[in-house]
Symmetry: C2
Subunit: 289 residues, 2 copies
């Protein structure tokens, strides 16, 4: 997905919200705004929004004097999610359709996103989302693709959320027996899951984990590591979590299924659903003919 002009005011809003969250003083907030303004001038709209997301948070990092201002928030969301692990696993096990429940749980986990929404009650939201229907659901294509695929690459989104992904990945392995690799960001960016988060959540005991080699809040292929690209290119199917991965990969010529909650109006318009909906869509819908 390209960057829409309406993303631009939102870049500045995000920068302000995040810098305030980390107690950046007003003078430094203006310097962050100035950094972004300078970047906006040279930013081509053909780039996807996560490329600007990377720039925004790089600027904030510069002034907060820490490499990972979201570290403690990520740790907290990992812990909260892990504390729900047993209960959620039981819900999946006892469900009428355990596999679909695990899938839905994975997208419900996508609500844990400090980058877009700040205040939430995780547990309540999860149960609300489990009751919610997908606004778009390419489930037949998804199951068909699962049957045919040998290698599946699973792109993680946020810390905390990866615990939900873990439950879904276990369900995927049980149901299909296919080779699955989990990919995380190459370095800290917002609250996105990194190797540390994945290891903390114990996912290495279920599937191999690879870092994508870049620190954008999405998957910008030209910047990813050779190791990651090798796995990406060899995979028959990609399961992609979160809006950032959708924004950066929606038009790639690859067999990708996106699972996410629609968190902003530009993406909602692009996807063709209302804000706040959950979707599971094949990228075939979005590849330009």
């Amino acid at each position: 997905m390209k960057t829409y002009l309406d993303c631009i005011p939102c870049f500045f809003k995000q920068a302000l919200r995040a810098s305030r969250m980390f107690g950046v003083d007003e003078n430094l907030q203006k310097r962050i705004i100035n950094d972004i303004a300078r970047e906006v001038v040279r930013f081509p709209l053909s780039c996807s929004p996560p490329e600007m997301g990377r720039i925004i948070y790089a600027s904030i990092r510069k002034y907060t004097d820490t490499n990972d201002p979201y570290k403690s928030l990520k740790e907290e969301s990992n812990k909260i999610a892990l504390s729900l692990y047993e209960e959620l696993s039981k819900i999946v096990k006892n469900a009428h359709d355990p596999f679909f429940t695990a899938l839905k749980l994975a997208v419900a986990g996508n609500l844990i996103d400090y980058g877009v929404v700040q205040d939430f009650d995780i547990k309540k939201e999860i149960f609300d989302l489990l009751e919610k229907d997908f606004a778009l659901l390419d489930y037949d294509e998804f199951k068909d693709s699962l049957n045919k695929a040998n290698n599946i690459l699973y792109l993680a989104d946020n810390a905390g959320e990866i615990v939900f992904d873990h439950i879904f990945i276990k369900s995927l392995k049980e149901k299909t027996g296919k080779d699955i690799t989990l990919a995380v960001r190459g370095a800290p960016i917002i609250n996105d899951a990194t190797m540390d988060d994945a290891l903390f959540c114990g996912i290495q005991h279920t599937v191999p984990i690879v870092q994508n080699g870049y620190d954008a809040p999405g998957t910008i292929l030209p910047h990813c590591s050779k190791e990651f690209l090798n796995i990406y290119n060899k995979s028959d199917m990609v399961i992609s979590k979160g809006q950032g991965n959708f924004e950066s990969l929606s038009e790639k010529d690859k067999n990708i299924f996106f699972l996410f909650k629609v968190k902003c109006r530009c993406v909602a318009d692009h996807v063709g659903v209302a804000l706040g909906n959950i979707v599971m869509v094949s990228n075939k819908r979005y590849i330009k003919k």
Copy 2:
């Protein structure tokens, strides 16, 4: 009022809304965004938001190839307001308190603002506002000041709205017999009232009209003409309409009363009322001690 950091995303939003209103294509919209981004970098927050408003609309004018993209909209709002003139004058005449009703009508007229709000039904909104109470009302100070003043300077805000101001100015003249001068912008900016609008609405038959010599959507004194400043300095009392005049004059050491509808969150927070309220406030509330 200084520019708040939260005004910055809003500058970009305003630019997009206005450029789309005038059918500016997407490539030119990005160039307008780039112009504003470059200006944001060098814009000190100590300047008031109307100074950036001027820059935004100057950029849009550059790409729309017209000196006054709002011309027809202003003409339309002048005509709509003039069509209500007799009816509104009767409402004032028959009111329990004609003077206060005329004052309220003047602030009700401030809803006609294409710069901030796009869709509205003027007549319905006016009658709704006439029913509404002021969130802040320094009325005793206002009447006291009127009694003492010899020369009153009345700062207009928007086209259309000036018809409502005309009714209030007539009421002011009848009640006080004081010298009143109406000031309009020095050149077209958004839908702000200029000399053409004032003349079209026939206000020259009631009071003298002066141009302020500058084309910001507010009153930026250092840029105003000598003629205007002469009148401003000699006036014992200023009645100032609209948010833009408030933003640019709220901290001046002068006897000013501001009448406006609060149209954005930053101003609402600064003034200390909820968004959408109407206020009539003395600048003594906002002068920094």
